[in-house]
């Protein structure tokens, strides 16, 4: 662990990313303390520029506090990103593990299915899924999961293909271990590093997809999110630039931070790759 941290901290960009990410997580955690109450609550000061009437980042067309929206939206974005990624990794690992381990016809069928899901333009597919299921937190998470798992499946399949004929796996066979136990307890732990790396990058993509869906009006109407503020402030672009600008910066910074952390993890978890560079 100390070794891992040493390698990770050698990448200054990754440390910076981690720092920013911690700030965003902290913001999400204290959203209810610094901005108690409903972020949808409107006030009698619509379209206040930043700094006026007590609004740090201004207010929107019906006087909702943009800063409060950003703080509460941080919670939404991070949670959706995390849950959707966990679900996608779960499905991807199952598909990839079975395809890679068993090979043959199982591999053929599972990979054909993966291929179809990979061919489909993912964002339009996500839009379609949310539109059919009606916009809600659950449907957004499901849609992001459905469009994200194929990449994990391909990666895990490759890892399982490479590992299944190694000596330690053959030893397990000789010991009479069951297939599922070999897959879960022996092979899977050996391919955790690339899964962690792809997972961390997927959180960033998930946040981008979520904000895009919310921008198109497909977010949960009862949950504050960054994409929602922007989509709502769009019609006010001429008179109130701040409504759209600040939530966008929040998305940009968060996604950037997660990408940096992901690259740092990649360097730290694959030391051989790093030395080759």
């Amino acid at each position: 662990m100390a070794d891992f941290w040493k390698r990770f901290s050698r990448n200054h960009q990754a440390v910076l990313g981690l720092l920013i990410l911690c700030c965003v997580i902290f913001l999400a955690a204290i959203a209810n303390i610094i901005y108690p109450g409903d972020p949808f609550l409107y006030s009698k000061f619509p379209l206040s520029p930043p700094g006026e009437n007590g609004f740090l980042l201004g207010s929107d067309s019906i006087g909702r506090d943009v800063a409060s929206g950003i703080a509460h939206g941080a919670k939404t974005s991070l949670l959706i990103g995390l849950i959707a990624t966990l679900a996608a990794v779960f499905i991807g690992v199952i598909f990839g593990a079975f395809a890679g381990y068993y090979g043959g016809i199982v591999d053929d069928i599972l990979m054909r299915v993966t291929e179809v899901f990979q061919t489909i333009p993912s964002f339009i597919f996500a839009i379609l899924l949310v539109a059919i299921m009606k916009p809600s937190i659950e449907s957004v998470v499901i849609a992001i999961t459905v469009v994200s798992w194929p990449a994990v499946a391909r990666l895990v399949r490759g890892e399982f293909l490479a590992l299944k004929n190694r000596e330690f796996v053959q030893a397990c066979h000789t010991l009479g271990m069951g297939d599922v136990r070999i897959m879960l307890a022996e092979i899977l732990p050996n391919c955790l590093s690339p899964i962690i790396v792809i997972g961390s990058l997927m959180v960033a993509t998930a946040i981008l997809i979520e904000s895009g869906l919310a921008f198109l009006g497909l977010g949960d109407p009862n949950v504050m999110s960054w994409g929602f503020i922007i989509s709502d402030g769009r019609s006010m672009l001429r008179v109130a630039w701040w409504i759209c600008t600040f939530p966008g910066i929040a998305i940009l910074i968060t996604v950037l931070a997660i990408n940096l952390v992901g690259e740092g993890l990649n360097d730290a978890l694959n030391p051989r790759l790093r030395e080759r560079k």
């Binding site: 054909r112 179809v116 061919t119 964002f123 339009i124 009006g217 994409g227 672009l237 998305i251 996604v255």
Partner: protein
């Protein structure tokens, strides 16, 4: 067997491989249609609100909704093969017709985006690789990192604030100024003027992608044996970079341009709805508001088919570009 007939066989085999994928997508489409509330006819007509009961009955018969699911699927397949994707009441038009109508603006936007993103991506990546580990390289890398993390719709809105509202350089929305009744060259100029902001917005993300890839690809090629050979022959570094390495480094970037078409279609939904560009993406956005689910399914089907087709074309181009690729 000579190469051209080999390529022909390869292409036809890839074509046949594409068919099950398209078929699977059609079946998926059918199930999504069934997943929505009500039966397919409710989705087709009811959500649009203005269908008569007689028409709904007629539609039910046409779709065979009184029959079991497999039969319904077969009917749906038959309709899709005949390019009959149903009717959009909102637009009072056949879905197929509507999609073809709106396809051209999207094509213009996508082609100009690919040209801009691939072109500048190659230049920037090349620039970064030549100036490896200098401040120039860092500037390009930071630029790529930031654009890679920026949501497209936000870039679009910022562009509008900067270049349409604060400075009245470009129009905020639409594809042309139809009130002016421009014709010929004037019209082309007008469309090009409207095209600038959407194209730049949609390009940025892919620009980042191609820049990073071009840089990595150049670096990989620099490590190859043929570069050492060329150096030993006394070829100048300049010639090595621009004649030997550049040509080989371009290959993966070309493939990537094809692979990204699916993502590009998704991006165009966002960009078109920001700039009210009257293409397929805007149509998808409108159909969301009108709850015209069948139209959305049609767009989805067509864009999936487009991705399959583009991947095929890229594979074939790749065969011609790189003779080392075995087509067997």
């Amino acid at each position: 067997m000579n190469r051209s007939s080999k390529i022909f066989r390869y292409v036809s085999r890839r074509l046949i491989q594409g068919i099950p994928i398209i078929l699977a997508i059609v079946v998926l489409n059918f199930f999504l249609l069934n997943l929505a509330e009500g039966d397919a006819v409710d989705v087709l007509a009811g959500e649009a609100g203005s269908a008569t009961p007689e028409y709904m009955e007629e539609m039910r018969k046409k779709f065979g909704l009184d029959k079991p699911l497999p039969v319904q699927l077969a009917v749906y397949l038959k309709n899709v093969i005949q390019l009959d994707l149903g009717y959009s009441f909102r637009h009072d038009m056949q879905v197929t017709e509507l999609i073809i109508d709106r396809f051209w603006p999207t094509l213009i936007l996508m082609v100009s985006t690919i040209l801009l993103a691939v072109g500048f991506g190659i230049l920037l990546g090349l620039f970064a690789a030549i100036n490896l580990n200098t401040w120039k390289d860092s500037v390009v890398s930071v630029f790529a990192l930031i654009t890679y993390a920026t949501p497209l719709f936000w870039v679009g809105l910022m562009m509008i604030i900067l270049f349409s509202i604060k400075n009245d350089w470009f129009p905020t929305s639409g594809m042309e100024n139809s009130a002016m009744f421009y014709e010929g060259f004037e019209r082309v100029k007008d469309i090009a003027h409207h095209l600038v902001l959407p194209t730049i917005t949609l390009s940025l993300f892919y620009l980042a992608l191609y820049t990073r890839m071009m840089r990595a690809s150049m670096l990989e090629q620099y490590g190859q044996d043929y570069v050492i050979t060329a150096r030993a022959k006394g070829v100048t570094e300049r010639r090595i970079t621009f004649v030997h390495v550049l040509r080989n480094a371009l290959l993966p970037v070309v493939t990537m341009a094809g692979v990204q078409v699916g993502a590009l279609i998704g991006g165009s939904v966002i960009v078109e709805s920001v700039f009210a560009w009257p293409g397929l993406g805007m149509l998808a956005f409108e159909s969301l508001f009108a709850r015209d689910l069948n139209l959305l399914l049609g767009i989805f089907l067509l864009s999936s088919a487009l991705v399959v087709a583009v991947n095929l074309v890229v594979d074939v181009i790749y065969c011609f570009l790189d003779p080392r690729i075995e087509v067997n």
